[in-house]
Each structure stands twice: as structure tokens, then as C-alpha cells.
Amino acid sequence: MDKTYASVEEAIADIPDGATIAFGSFFTAGKPTALTKALAKKGVKDLTIVVQQVGTGNEEMLELVTNGQIKKAICNYPFPRSASKGAQHPFEQAVRNGKIKLEIYPIGTFVEKLRCAGAGIPGFYTPTGVGTVVGEGKEVRVFNGIECLLELALPVDYAFVHAWKGDREGNLVYRFTAQNYNNAMAMAGKVTIAEVETLVDAGELDPNFIHTPGIFVKRVVETGRPEFNSAAV
């Protein structure tokens, strides 16, 4: 079962306008840089993006914003931390002027919604967000005396993930904190596409230490190791 593609362009060729796409990364760590750049180049539009944030060190995503490819964003820390930087930031401006619709969640809820989508669990209860704007319009239910919100699974059409190593059958290994959202997104994706720094043959990764089993990954493309400077953000 060889899931490899020769290029990122081929790996994303079937993505249509209007698709919902999740992107790994926690700030700069574990960003699917090559796939995201290819998506900007492809020019597909009306996208719903699911990503931690767009405001900090995410130039690739910013290109989708400035290209006008995004209709809606689902995030947990969408904007630059600084208000003054935010006011200048194309993503924050697009949200403020209504060009991009934004939906926000606390991190724990955000990532659990993705995991649940991949785990066949349509909904779960969490104490996080009760009595805040996150809880508005949501069912509140008391468990053991604690109010909780009903939150729903968040499936995505495509998930872009970045891994340190991957084999031809889609088994993935991440490196340090570049792991972050990539596994939950791989689980949530109907079609999960992994860009890997190093591609190996099946059997070369230690089967006892696979972070994301290949069953969650439909396509693999080797893109090398991106270089970027987190401190610069």
C-alpha cells in the first residue's frame, strides 16, 4: 500500500473550492509549510480553515488570507498577541471587516472536537467555557455538580500535517513539540495528507513508537526539513 505522491501539487490536486481543511502547527512548530504554499498556488477558494492561529509566524496561511481564499476560520488563538500588531494584520482585518467568518474555541475543546471526529464520537461534555462567550447557545448539563457544555465533533475534509519521518504506508513520527495538533487533525481528516521531512520504506520506523498509525493517513509526500526562526515571530 504505497501512499506516496511525487509532489505536494499532486497530493492536493483534488481539493475543491469550499473544502474544510485542518492545518497542524502550534505557532511555528509542526507547520505543513509545503502543502500550505501549494494550496495558495492552486488558488482554490471559499475554504474553511481549522488551525490554531494565523497571527504569528504563519506566513503560508497569511498568503491564503491575502489571496482571499478563506471564507471561514476555526481557531483557538487566532490573532497576534499584541493589539497594535493585530490592527495591522491582514487576517485580523479580514475578520473585523467580515470577509472571514471566525469561530473560536478553547484549545482543549478545539483539539478534542478533532479527536472525537476521528474517533466516531459525535459529542462530548466539557466544563471548559461555561459562563463565557464560548458557552453561548450551547446546551449546559450538570455532571457531579459541575456545569458542562455539550461540544460536537469537528470532522474536516482534508487535514494537512507535518511529520519528522513517515513511511510509505503513512505511519508518522513527529519531533518534540512539533507533534502538537498534527495527530488529532490526522484523525479528523477524511483525507489526511502528510508532508514528511524524511520518507522511509515500510518497516524502517520502530513499530512500537509510531505517533500516528498509517490508517489515519491517505497521502504522503516528502518535502524535506523547513527552516524557520521561531524567535523572530
Binding site: 502550534f26 512548530a29 493589539a83 478553547p106 471548559t128 463565557t132 502538537n180
Partner: protein, 232 residues
């Protein structure tokens, strides 16, 4: 009282941010798992070197070490504030779903968070400053999960807004992070505990009286029987 206008700030110099962090570091027990938020909370890590305190970075790392200088930086090893860090022996990396299972599941002995406002009941408002004009949206990050999940929640903040408004109020009027979640507030003037009876003033910095702190605070304070000068 939350409508109370600007107060007269005493002439005593308040604590530096580093000193707020030190007071909190001294509250942490050895053997505890701690998550430090952005801002003053991050400075707490400067005061625990050599102590048996395990720092969790919600990006997915336990035994997160000090900031890494140039030449020791690895683009795949950052904390939840996007800073390069070191790892300590016994470190582990894991995915964000596991990281927040820990947080929401009550495994954090202590979380230290910044705040924009804290109410008399311990409500926390910290993620959305209405002045930024983002309405019901903004950067939530991990704050709501930490506020709900940590066994003990310590707020580290200055006593006043940059504009001189009190941040401790009867009722928060900024969007909430979580209701009734704060256990202790440490500011640049005082240490206040949130109890079922109300806010209890435990400590004030040298030269500041309980009356001074009450004047600076837009919620009623109960002065503790053992109220005393803050030691650092």
C-alpha cells in the same frame, strides 16, 4: 463598587513584575506540576531553578526547562508562547489532546495566569480586553481549560490597569475566562485569597496597610486574622 472611578495610588513603590513572580514561586510546593501562562506568570520560572517543580508547556511538554539561547535553539522545541526552550531530564513530549487531558483532568497542581479582572467570587476575565474591539472573539488559547482544570489557580497581575482602573472588582465586566476559578491573587501590592466568605487580604507589601489595599480594590476585602507584611 465596580463603577468606582480611578483611585489614588499610594506613594509606596509597588512590586516589580519579577517580585510578583518571586512571591508566587515561594508559594509553590516541591513535587508539584505547574503551568505558567503568558506575562508575569512566565517570570515565575526564573525563581524555581534547582527546585523540584515540573513545568508543563501546554503545547505538549513536561519538564520544560529555561529559555534556550541562540546556538542551543531547536525549531521543534518551543513552549506555548513560541519561545525556544530547553528540556530537563525526565522530559516527555506528547500531543495537544493529551496535554489538555492533563489540564482539564485535574493533573495540574497549580496554574498561574495573568488577568485583566478578577471578581469577588473569583471569576476571571483574562482573554479579551474590550478595548481591542474584537467583540466576542479573541485569543482564548489554553486559558479557559487551565482556569477550569487546575487544582489551584493563582492570578499574577498588577493591581491596576495601565489606565489606573482597579482590576479586582465585585463583578467582572470584561468577557470571562471562567467563573469562580481563582484561588489566590498576587498583585504588586497585595496577596488576596478567594474564599467562600469573600476576598481575604492576607499580605500587603511593606509600607502598605490593609486600608490602603481596600482603597485600591473595587470589591470588599476581609482582613485576615494573620494579615502581615509580604516577605520576599
Amino acid at each position: 463598587m465596580s463603577k468606582m472611578s480611578k483611585v489614588v495610588v499610594p506613594e509606596m513603590p509597588p512590586l516589580e513584575r519579577e517580585m510578583i513572580a518571586l512571591r508566587i514561586a515561594n508559594m509553590l510546593e516541591d513535587g508539584s506540576y505547574v503551568n505558567l501562562g503568558i506575562g508575569i506568570p512566565t517570570l515565575v520560572s526564573n525563581w524555581i531553578e534547582g527546585r523540584d517543580i515540573i513545568i508543563q508547556a501546554e503545547i505538549g511538554m513536561l519538564k520544560c526547562g529555561p529559555l534556550a539561547d541562540e546556538g542551543e535553539q531547536d525549531q521543534d522545541r518551543i513552549n506555548a508562547s513560541c519561545q525556544f526552550v530547553h528540556e530537563m531530564p525526565g522530559c516527555s513530549y506528547f500531543n495537544v489532546e493529551t496535554s489538555f487531558a492533563m489540564i482539564r483532568g485535574g493533573r495540574m497542581d497549580v496554574a498561574v495566569l495573568g488577568a485583566l479582572q478578577v471578581s469577588a467570587k473569583g471569576d476571571l476575565a483574562g482573554w479579551n480586553n474590550p478595548a481591542r474591539g474584537l467583540g466576542k472573539t479573541g485569543n482564548i488559547g489554553g486559558s479557559m481549560d487551565l482556569a477550569v482544570g487546575a487544582a489551584k489557580l493563582i492570578v499574577a497581575m498588577e493591581h491596576f490597569t495601565p489606565g489606573g482602573e482597579p482590576k479586582i472588582l465585585d463583578v467582572c465586566n470584561y468577557p470571562l475566562t471562567a467563573k469562580e476559578c481563582v484561588d489566590v491573587i498576587v498583585t504588586n501590592y497585595a496577596l488576596i485569597e478567594v474564599t467562600p466568605k469573600g476576598l481575604v487580604l492576607k499580605e500587603a507589601i511593606p509600607g502598605i496597610t490593609a486600608e490602603d489595599v481596600q482603597k485600591m480594590t473595587a470589591a470588599k476585602l476581609i482582613v485576615a486574622d494573620d494579615f502581615h507584611e509580604m516577605e520576599l
